[in-house]
Subunit: 158 residues, 2 copies
């Protein structure tokens, strides 16, 4: 599972995600406006899921947005284009760990350090599950809550 639970060079982790998204926007003709970019940066600060109102507070601190629809619009933009994911179990949002690829992630939520990791193998799996019943999947949510290896081994990691 993901490096995101383990110690890693988070500055370059952030930077690379940001660069990838910037490039993707350029390629696809999407506008990564100041609020949107800052929203992504906020989500990238840790590998934690943030609620829309947490994000809004931070945007407000920066003078970029101060009303709920502004935060929701930025978050929805990021989610629609695969640059962030919504965590249904938490009603919260997390930056995507590989924003280049089109993917349906499985999300791994550690209840100890509260980080959220993602892996990619969800789609095929859903297809397989749905096949028996002839169910045709549009979107698939896979979210596990539990504890990551680091938190089980160590004291705390938040």
């Amino acid at each position: 599972m993901q490096n995101v639970f383990a110690p890693h060079d988070h500055a370059s982790c952030t930077q690379s995600a940001l660069t990838t998204v910037e490039r993707a926007c350029a390629e696809r003709g999407l506008r990564l406006t100041p609020v949107r970019k800052r929203t992504l940066e906020i989500l990238l600060e840790g590998h934690h899921a943030l609620g829309a109102y947490d994000v809004l507070q931070k945007l407000s601190d920066d003078g970029l947005a101060d009303k709920p629809p502004m935060a929701y619009r930025a978050l929805n933009f990021l989610v629609e284009h695969g640059f962030a994911h919504r965590v249904e179990r938490l009603n919260a949002y997390v930056a995507c760990a590989h924003p280049d690829a089109d993917h349906t992630p499985a999300l791994w939520i550690c209840s100890d350090c509260h980080k959220v990791a993602e892996t990619a193998q969800a789609a095929e799996l859903g297809q397989r599950l749905g096949q028996d019943g002839g169910f045709s999947i549009n979107t698939l949510t896979i979210e596990a809550e539990g504890s990551c290896q680091q938190c089980r081994g160590e004291s705390s990691n938040d």
Copy 2:
């Protein structure tokens, strides 16, 4: 996938679920009080997910409950004991299709007829997914939204 999408004898479907839950409560020393039982009946009326406030409205019509905590308590009781499931993607609740077994369901939400089916194979699957990364799962959410076979074949089925 589940008979619940296909035409079936829903009266006996409901009756058997209700009987199963009654027996389970008796065995486990749980109290299926009037609000709780009625809440289950409400969820069993169709195979649809209902929001807490939808349930509350119906409880209120019956004179059984008229304030949010009352509905939430009944719903939480049912969910805690596996007699109903919470649908995270819909912030809604659905009666369990096989309330006898201890299980982690995968939920199948048809965007056309709005019925919700469940299958049971989720748990092992999560374990397998989590194993690579050493993630230890407490609870697993698997929810697919799409269209059921009936709705793809026929005009409408709601």
